[in-house]
């Protein structure tokens, strides 16, 4: 319901406060100067037909009129046959280091130029309900983050840490070096990490399973096992992180003689964390592959 109302709010014509910018460095400078979010469309106008429907809307004169709330708009058009002007622009836009796996892709950056949301590819935009809703969803998450952080400014201690963490969760962020200021703020407000947010953002995918494959004796296995137990109890982990922890526990117990039952239980925990997800289904399949 909130999503829908936000979309209406965002997309019905209001004051024209969305503004197009020429290139990424200029956009970033202005976003920082004027404290504005920046929405970037990565497209390929002369080679990628999937970009066309999105570009048709994006380049229409009334696109910025449909967006309310102050924001900056930039189309990074990756042309195959650029003219001189496009080539100059392309050079400037190389300042944008965001990794794009497909085109078209929408990326929303906060006023500090940090990625605050992404919708990848025509299938991703379609799954989000089309361009308008995809954009609406990105802004909604950022707005929720900002609301939470505004509230956090008035709080102290655990409550403050919780609001900052919730804000990061809204935009699926927190792990990269660009979020160090927020992690420091959480560490200051919750020095013992009683909420578990810091452990969540410091979680390194595959780290434990890599160590397990190299560990050779029970002493090493025990150390890793204890670390995984602590992580498994962290309520802040996302479902996929939790599943990865249980998968690592399975890898550990599978290797550790006499722990077969725990290996099986780890798979069950993994499935329970999110049965319909890919790792959830994989854990069920992996269990079937075990000896009865």
């Amino acid at each position: 319901m909130f999503f829908r109302s936000f979309c209406i709010c965002l997309l019905i014509a209001g004051s024209a406060t969305a503004q197009r910018v020429a290139d990424f460095p200029a956009a970033l400078a202005r976003a920082k100067r004027e404290n504005l979010p920046l929405l970037v469309l990565f497209s390929g106008s002369d080679w990628n037909t999937d970009s066309k429907p999105v570009l048709d809307v994006w380049t229409s004169p009334d696109w910025e009129q449909k967006l309310t709330g102050k924001t900056l708009l930039l189309n990074i058009d990756r042309k195959e046959n650029p003219d001189d002007a496009a080539r100059v622009l392309e050079e400037k836009n190389k300042a944008c280091k965001t990794w794009i796996s497909t085109h078209p892709t929408l990326v929303l950056y906060d006023s500090q130029g940090r990625q605050a949301g992404m919708v990848s590819g025509a299938p991703g935009i379609a799954a989000a309900g089309g361009l308008h809703r995809a954009v609406g969803g990105l802004y909604q998450a950022l707005r929720e983050r900002d609301d939470l952080w505004q509230r956090a400014e008035k709080e102290n201690g655990i409550r403050k840490a919780a609001l900052i963490g919730e804000g990061l969760d809204r935009i699926g962020a927190g792990a990269g070096k660009e979020w160090e200021p927020e992690r420091q703020a959480i560490a200051k407000a919750d020095p013992k990490d009683s909420l578990g947010y810091l452990a969540k953002y410091q979680f390194v995918s595959r780290e434990h399973v890599n160590r397990i494959t190299e560990a050779k004796d029970a002493t090493a296995w025990e150390v890793i096992g204890k670390e995984l137990d602590v992580l498994a109890r962290n309520p802040r982990l996302s479902a996929s992180q939790r599943q990865e922890v249980h998968a690592a526990r399975f890898a550990l117990f599978k290797k550790w003689p006499g722990h077969e039952a725990e290996a099986r239980r780890a798979l069950e925990e993994m499935e329970k964390a999110d049965p319909k997800s890919v790792p959830g289904k994989a854990s069920a399949n992996r269990k079937k592959m075990l000896a009865p």
């Binding site: 080679w47 990756r78 497909t102 085109h103 690592a248």
Partner: protein, 702 residues
Amino acid sequence: MFPTRTVCLAAACFFTAGISGFAAIGKLPGNDAELEAPVGDQAAALELLQGELERVAGPAVRSLEKSSDGSRFLRELFSSYQLFGDFMLSGPLPSDLGKSLRALFEIWKEDRDGLRDVRDRSTAVATALVFGRSGWEPENAFARYRFYRDSRKQGKLHASFEELRPWEKRFVTGAAHNGAWAGPGGWNDDSLVWLRDHVKLPAKDYEGACWQAPYHLNNMFGDSIHGADYYTPFSGMTHAERVRLVGGVCGSLSHFGANSANANGIPAFTMGEPAHCAYAVRPERGKWIASYTLSWKRGLHLPPELAASWSHLILLEDSLADEDAWRKSAVHRFQALALEKSNPTLAEAAYRASLEACPLNFTAWMSAAEFFAAHSGNDPERWEGFQSGVLKSLAKYPECAWSVISTIQDKAFATMDQERKLGFILAFHRAISPYAGPSMWEFEKALEAQAAAFSPDVTAQLGLFEKIAAIHMASPAWLAPSIAWAQEKFSGDPALVKQYFAALGRAFADGSGAGASDGFRNAIRAAILGAEKSGDMEAFQAIGKAGAKFTGAKPLDDLPPFSGKLLSSGGFVTISSTSTWDQPESHWGLLEPQGGAFHTDADVRPWVIVRLGKMGDLSGIVLHDSTGDGYNGRRQVPIKVSVSENGTEWKEVFRSEKQAKSWRIPLDGKATRVQYVKCERDNETKDHFHLQAIHAYGRPLQ
């Protein structure tokens, strides 16, 4: 071209008696003037193409004639220069053209009208030619054609696909090895659909598409990719999707990269390298990029008749740059093949016409070589003339030139005395010496074959080597592999080693009257610098190891390592310049635990670039400067260290203004997918630059 021969046989019918139906057409050309008929006359061309099809795939034609559909298909094919011309003249033909014919029939059955559109016709032809490969079933050709036809019509392919010629599309429609890779549920048409819709990039970006899939030796359950359980738990999705989700190692990643390009209509294919899998992408006409590559030793996952090696691929591309000329050349080649038995004189004229039309047509050269080997008799001048023709056309592609010459060498040598053999071999080396060629190749094998054919006596072979080395002395490409070959062949035999040193000493004597060991050292130095200049890692390693025993480098102080493996070991060094104080024989040790040395000339911003022995995620780099606590330590600062995946785009990871005997640079998480490390002095001072160790540690990604 090779000289003509005055053999005159009567013109004969294309086909032997007793063949009925479609085969009973066509007359062979009877004189030089008639050779030109099919070039300008479509009807004559159709007859010629039909004759060639009959010659190489007669049983397949007979088989199709038996059904009414098949007969109708053949009638249409043989009357359409557009379709038949594209089918027969779009690059080298597959080894089983009959299978391709059946594949084209399968497509025609399902989409006869569609083939009238030039864009879909070229897709159909390319698909049919791909299905001539071993293991590709013609019955599946339509499904592959349909994928590209429908994807194009729906605008789901990269726009450049519209412009591709049929021969170019053969590098697209061969995507995913027709599902033959990675077993059932592996790379199949479903994966292509997923990749088409989820990995849409500007063409050149497919060079890095492999990295969309993470490099993981073990899956999240700890199951190794070398076992059967790695992907099994991840069902209900395409293989492409699960490779991106679960990860893989070089094979999965390279297939992801190549197949994502192919699925979007961009030419690409995978390649085997020693203990590694890489891939190649063609972002634009005439330009192939090797991606995730670690070695020039590549086995292309392509049928050999299309491109047996990287050099052959580049030659094919260059030869087809003028497609009209290539087609004309192919037409004359078909004439020559048809005339070989009945009229060798005219066949030779047809080969000449073929190679004059397109001197880079490798297929024509190979056929001509076979013909020549069968018809040239005992006149050594004819053999020399033939080689001269090959070298005139193909010297810039030394590997390809050797491919042709190696087929005639034994027969040629049977007509020659030792002096003439020597001249024949040295002519080859003189011709290729100025050209590095499109890529490195197994030059040592060519030397070995030449030496073996020259004489069974190793002393004579050593004499041959000395003359070859003298030719290549100034050649950065061929000196190093020549010495690497000789080192392997002659230095292990105590009876020969002195002669070997003496030979090198004579070849590389600096005129100062110094002895053979100095000459040998000169040779090693020149060879190492040559290997560095030409990027020949294998020769650098082989000669570097041999040269290490001549170094006066002192053992390094204890340098505590970072975690992981010493990724620099087995790598390769290039420096901005050499100098009087530089000892190239010490370069190899720079990357190894014992240490080594390099010493540039006085330069502004001098540098050393290391290509790691293994690509990897770095945990840290250790640099050693034995002069770090002395006066000359100032030469190294400010020192800047950068890393790179491809050797062109660099990321600075360290800078220091302070002199030091060693710098330890921790890099955990800051230097992923690194193949190159660059150290440089980062100011405008003109001075020398030297280090004794560059050790990079981390987790290998291969």
